[in-house]
Subunit: 329 residues, 2 copies
């Protein structure tokens, strides 16, 4: 549900009212039943909530969906209001849900938007869901990714200063990103993902004319991945590569820093963008937008990103192919 | 005309066949008359070329356009073939044309695509037109810009490695970019341009949490520009700012490095993108695409970017407002 005072509850009931949300997965809501009920009127056809104290069973009654708060009650519902208590309950719900993903009760989590400010004011110090889930799963090598239709970008680093991100451009990190991307796309049913690696410098450095990383770090990493059997090439000039993916030449692009992928993907993703964390030992997707406090409670927020996030989570939760199956198919 | 073996000649005759190319400016072609005549059949309505030995007079006859090679004859026309001699004539045409812009014979230049490889093989060492024009005009503080409809980005640096670009993020360079952008947009008829400055780090650094440049360099530069009277704000999180410009909230964005603007703008510009050099003492625009040797000679290249480049050059060639007029209007 995310922050109860953002648009999370609204897009949740709107998404659950659409049949495609239920096509690939059995869903359960983690959040506040009173809030769900308060926003239900904006989404005709949304299933009625049935309070669950545990996730031992999902209700199978048509038109009914289970909802659970794991004992962490939300504060009063005040759409558009920044409330540290709402930030706290959102974080506690994620922690409980991640624990059920790790123990196998759930196959994955789709997170709604939270307010970083509310979370900070509640005394937590997470930059976002991504870092929270990585910490809960003790994962150092997680990857922030943005998917939108046939456009997919895996970033080799996340929330680092650009200077620190430059220092983190290593062969090992690039090669690990290629493997992680390949595994995820195989789970999504792409037999042999076509993977393009972005350069770091303008024009991928023009063979060392401006910057040597493309020639001396990225190119060797790509050669290593090709040797390992991946359908991988690069480094490509950063400012023309995404157009090639849009034209269907690639299934995924490996970006060398956060904004190299975030700036273009957020510009073109419109309503179908999904934020994905790969490299962690569970499935986690998210809407790619924020709490939008300014329109919370108005019933006008669009649920498309959440639908896309649910669909992608269900695809990623399929049994993983082994690496050798992935690269030889 | 650019490289005669690329798509330059084709988009030239196709653009000149359209009335809007002539709406704001008197045009003259700098290039090879035999090549122009060779591609004319693909563009019904294109004006007939009249060879000029100097630019002392432009022909005023309807359906006729002047063409001049300044004594630098092109080699044989071989569409799609990389020919150093074609690279050399393209460069010499630009040099002659820039000289006529500086001496006042011409009000500006619109450049067609050249092949950097052909230029290099001919013995020249320019990364592109931008650097060539900057050198010819003895300009150190030029700015590479991409304009596409209402989307406009001015980059504070050009072809530098990303590491060097980080070191070039200074208050003076940002403030100069704001002034240059403001002046250009005033010439285009925007009375008080709304200027947004991008941050450098992810999320503009989150107040120093990842990277201090946004807080310690960019924010003070913006404050200085506001004090000087510009309608300027920032630093903004880089991955949401361009969407705000697309929504009409800003007229131009100042980007902190080459790919921060080039990656998104080249992805969304489609056929209307224009490459602009600002900060030089003349008007220079260009198509934002390359020679496209793979489709040269087929008559299928689109002329829209060239039309947009001609229109923008004519707008920029209007008398400049003074700075005080620009910021007080």
């Amino acid at each position: 549900m995310g922050d109860i005072n953002g648009i999370g509850p609204e897009i949740l009931v709107k998404a659950l009212a659409r049949p495609e949300a239920h096509a690939l997965a059995d869903l359960v809501v983690v959040g506040a039943k009173p809030v769900y009920e308060a926003v239900m009127p904006i989404a005709p056809g949304a299933p009625s909530p049935l309070l669950l104290s545990t996730l031992a069973e999902f209700p199978k009654t048509p038109g009914v969906i289970g909802i659970c708060d794991f004992g962490h009650a939300a504060p009063a519902h005040r759409p558009g209001v920044l409330d540290p208590a709402a930030g706290a309950s959102a974080i506690e719900w994620v922690k409980e849900t991640v624990a059920r993903c790790i123990d196998g009760t759930l196959d994955g989590i789709v997170t709604g938007p939270i307010s970083k400010t509310a979370v900070y004011q509640a005394g937590y110090h997470y930059i976002g869901h991504t870092e929270l889930v990585a910490e809960l799963t003790h994962t150092a090598e997680f990857r922030m990714c943005l998917f939108a239709g046939g456009m997919r970008v895996v970033h080799i680093t996340g929330h680092l200063s650009l200077r620190d991100a430059l220092d983190a451009v290593t062969e090992d990190r690039i090669a690990a990103s290629v493997r992680i991307a390949n595994d995820a796309l195989c789970r999504m049913g792409i037999a042999r993902p076509r993977i393009a690696v972005m350069g770091l410098n303008p024009h991928a450095g023009e063979d060392g004319a401006f910057g040597t990383e493309d020639r001396d770090i990225i190119a060797p990493a790509v050669r290593r991945c090709v040797t390992e059997g991946y359908a991988c090439d690069g480094p490509h000039p950063p400012d023309t590569l995404l157009g090639k993916m849009r034209d269907g030449l690639y299934d995924v692009v490996i970006a060398m820093y956060h904004d190299q992928g975030h700036i273009p993907m957020k510009l073109i993703a419109m309503d179908e963008g999904v934020n994905v964390t790969l490299g962690i030992p569970m499935v986690r997707t998210s809407v790619d937008h924020g709490t939008a406090f300014d329109i919370a409670g108005k019933g006008i927020a669009r649920e498309d990103s959440l639908i896309a996030a649910i669909t992608l989570a269900a695809q990623l939760a399929r049994p993983a192919q082994t690496l050798s199956e992935g690269v030889s198919s």
